[in-house]
Symmetry: C3
Subunit: 443 residues, 3 copies
Amino acid sequence: MSSTSEAAFLAPPTGKPVGQSVAMHRLLRKLYPIGRSITGEGVRQTLRMLEQYLPAGLQVQEVPSGTPVLDWVVPPEWNIRQAYVRDTQGRHVIDFANHNLHVVGYSQPVAGWFTRAELEEHLHSLPEQPDLIPYRTSYYGASWGFCLAHRQREQLQDEVYEVCIDATHDPAGSLTYGQLLLPGSSEEEVLISCHLCHPSLANDNISGLVVATALANWLADRPRRYSYRFLFVPATIGAITWLAQHQETAVPCVRHGLVLSLLGGPGQFTYKASEAGAAEVDRAVALALRDLHEPHELRLFSPYGYDERQYCSPGFRLPVGCLTRTPFGEFPEYHTSADNPDFVTQQQLTGSLRLLRRVCRVLEQNQTYQNLSPYGEPQLGRRGLYKTVGGGLDGQQWQMVLLWVLNQSDGRHSLLDIAERSGLPFQLLHKAAVALRATQLLA
Amino acid sequence: MSSTSEAAFLAPPTGKPVGQSVAMHRLLRKLYPIGRSITGEGVRQTLRMLEQYLPAGLQVQEVPSGTPVLDWVVPPEWNIRQAYVRDTQGRHVIDFANHNLHVVGYSQPVAGWFTRAELEEHLHSLPEQPDLIPYRTSYYGASWGFCLAHRQREQLQDEVYEVCIDATHDPAGSLTYGQLLLPGSSEEEVLISCHLCHPSLANDNISGLVVATALANWLADRPRRYSYRFLFVPATIGAITWLAQHQETAVPCVRHGLVLSLLGGPGQFTYKASEAGAAEVDRAVALALRDLHEPHELRLFSPYGYDERQYCSPGFRLPVGCLTRTPFGEFPEYHTSADNPDFVTQQQLTGSLRLLRRVCRVLEQNQTYQNLSPYGEPQLGRRGLYKTVGGGLDGQQWQMVLLWVLNQSDGRHSLLDIAERSGLPFQLLHKAAVALRATQLLA
Amino acid sequence: MSSTSEAAFLAPPTGKPVGQSVAMHRLLRKLYPIGRSITGEGVRQTLRMLEQYLPAGLQVQEVPSGTPVLDWVVPPEWNIRQAYVRDTQGRHVIDFANHNLHVVGYSQPVAGWFTRAELEEHLHSLPEQPDLIPYRTSYYGASWGFCLAHRQREQLQDEVYEVCIDATHDPAGSLTYGQLLLPGSSEEEVLISCHLCHPSLANDNISGLVVATALANWLADRPRRYSYRFLFVPATIGAITWLAQHQETAVPCVRHGLVLSLLGGPGQFTYKASEAGAAEVDRAVALALRDLHEPHELRLFSPYGYDERQYCSPGFRLPVGCLTRTPFGEFPEYHTSADNPDFVTQQQLTGSLRLLRRVCRVLEQNQTYQNLSPYGEPQLGRRGLYKTVGGGLDGQQWQMVLLWVLNQSDGRHSLLDIAERSGLPFQLLHKAAVALRATQLLA
């Protein structure tokens, strides 16, 4: 149950140490080819691979198809063996074996000959991005379809095609998700949630999976005030299933939460606030972005997006925001075959991890202190906290930090409050709080 | 007691149907020539004419002169038979018969010869608008005067003039006002107040009278949650008299209110908020303006202006704002003979009516709902509320509307709150609420 | 105990009247040469001189060295008889007698020969302002030093120098401060605090001392609602000593307070708010600056600066802001020999006094009134408060002032609230309140 070392993450399974950014990108490349959906073997394979890199035992849950979860029902498990469109010469003009975006997710099985006109009704392509395969799903409608590059589609000339989708929707199957709990000294939890249902899309959301994995390794090696719960769940139905199963247990413990996605692609950070809008996690992320001088955009909550929709629904109202770089739908590679491992850089992954570490530090270190010498300023000089040359300005910033912490520590202002009001870096304020506590000036 | 049809308003009394904007402008032309003041026959004549166009019985009140009303006393009734200034050749150089702005409102009677110097002290003209007759009143000072074009004034050359103002201030007279109540399913009221004391000024405020009349007809034909009370009152003393007489009855029922004026002249809408500043009516007007993409200006409350001064006084603090187009004093025709029927366009009257209908719709439809499936998002797809192609963006706006209503309907946010937060049109949100209620997702 | 006349301030002690701005600047020149520190004879001499100009008895307190005051201890009393650096030819290359900035404040006594290298470690100069002597202190470190112009320092060529600082740190001495109380009809106090510990620095803070002295004279001749307490204290330790000695008596009576400094130098006003940030004094200063059309900057509180640090500490949280012109550290003459009497102008001193008088007026006159005729507008005309020509705009601003006071005087809004909301000058609103009270419309 104890955490493995960070090194384990950095270079499993060979043991040869590599840099963290290299390691994250390698894991991303390994996860990329797996054909995932909201249920099925691809999800299990993904979780087994993540488990190798995680610092503690990943708890994998299988929830039977047909299980009622909140307002939903767990769908039949979908698996696909092969799928193709074959022309009259027997050539596979579209083949799932070439790219797992070629089949619309959750397609019904089909086998037979179709006229080109009939087939066309089941094809999806992007006329304005004619070289890219789009990503499409149809989880809750009984349909089938193929996705392909528009140029490829234009070359379909035959009158008839043989179509095969060899897929199963097993009502006796299950939905699979993984969760990892890193216990802290408190039962209060920080929830980190990533969706793992997208096949062969690197930024959306393998980037989230690998950054979360790296964050878990970093946290595992440190003392933790909070417990950290990492969720690797299929989007929507996975979050809903987890909420349904933990409504009485983990849900009431969640104090802060983040949905992670799109963390390896281009663009500055975009943080979408929780429904509350100024929850501690919202402020911690904004502060970490400010202190790291990261260009970024802060957006208000809206009920569309990733699984923060579920966590922030009115029955739960968990303080969960969503951190991405360029948000979904706002970059041309989104939900296409161009969202491949080359689209994700080591640098962006590493920058995302750095930001998340900073956010966790703020959450861990944010406390409300009490100045034990609140009448006037205490004499910092005789405690060795302060330069004593009254007329000069040396050491002025450090004095400022100490003075801000002392002045605002009236039991009503947290370090986060002080960081916002003073404009001073959170880490400096925390350092000052530690120094002041060591001299019995703060409790 | 039941309402007449809108058609009745559109083409009374001949019955030949005309467009609403034509009808409003025709009524305005009919009302224009009447010589009105804060009391007297002109007010009664105006109310009799409005009654023909209103959808239900207009209640006309006569309040005897001398009646104490709040801090005021109803003044003697003023009527005027004739008034002129005659030169030594017997020519009527100024004649009330030519324009009823020629006499200062509430002038004392006068008859006799005056030197030109003496006369000059009783003349009002506009040197910078030399062709226009100004509008002046002197309700509570015992004086008299004539208003005339500055060019006309400059032609007065005689040494002496004969002056006649054949007016009466009858202490046994009364103040007259009209009110129309359209009862709704609730006793809570929306107050619509217009001043009707200005003579021969088309925008100020015959425009308000005719738009209010059209609005009353529109409301009469619809189911109403609120009761609507239309007041046609002389400015200041009329509103004060109504407040004094309804302090225990109607006043406590007023939930929202608008003073209407200057709705047919040029310029974008200007809305002056109630004293509270963010009352529901203030927000409803701002939202209607936003949703209709009307250019507009929102102004803060100030205690100068129209009868919102009285309704918002500290003893009442009714949530009553004031809707105009270009506000009083800010267009050159204001309070001059240039504010005539040609200054008011059908288009502006119709635009004002459209805005007011939208405001009433917002007030009527604004409710706070409760999401009955608040844990996670309900599955909209199986209820036919939602497109099911998960990866595409079709129908995205409609999804957004549904999701906003569901997410915010936690019993604490009204549709108006949701419209403000989401930026979505109120009417779409209302439509979503109706659809969600029909599927038992909302109560 | 009664106040002397303002004339006494204007021209003591000769009696020949001079203008106030001349008088303030003359006093500043007299105070400039005195060698002050946080204790010692210079402080006593300064207080004796101020006493001649103050309108009532200045209470001078001597607090023995070694007395515990809050977290601090009153330091030994420091006095200095002579100090110099002498070269091998016996020339005084640095001499305290030439400028009392030459010695680091609270320097330890020293006598003997030093190599130039040894001496250099005790010298302070400003390479970028080579003609100016810097101001340095070392109150709580046992060190010594000399300050000198950098050009002068560069001329030190000898191998050895004789150094003499003939100073005493008397543990049986005391700390001296002065306070003046001008009692008002209430025991609630306005605190005006100036630091008096800086030697030969004109703007910092002899300007504060003389403007406070002039303000005390102005206040002494007027009826006062509040009691006014003027403090002339050494920075930090003086404010802390006063707080320690008045924790149970005066401190709970302080309703508003200002720290005054840097009021005679260049630049627009800068007001730093109290910790509360929107205390009545903060709003009064902002309003006075607005009404006087003074260019200015409003800054948020920070726990660095002058003695507002002590008054705003969490145990006291007194509503005390800090008024300066260009703040400390933001003008090149700051804490150098260039901050001399020529740097301070009569005009700036007078402008500062004018602003402070205005602030005091706002504090004195700020009241929350009750409209006694709150239902509708009262009829101002018959009370002679109001022009009666209804249609014209004459006298409109005065009407506005009356109407704002009446509308907002619902017992919840003070005149200061009304001034902020209406944008109208405070003094006009006060005048209106007086007029309305005279007609029994306001209580």
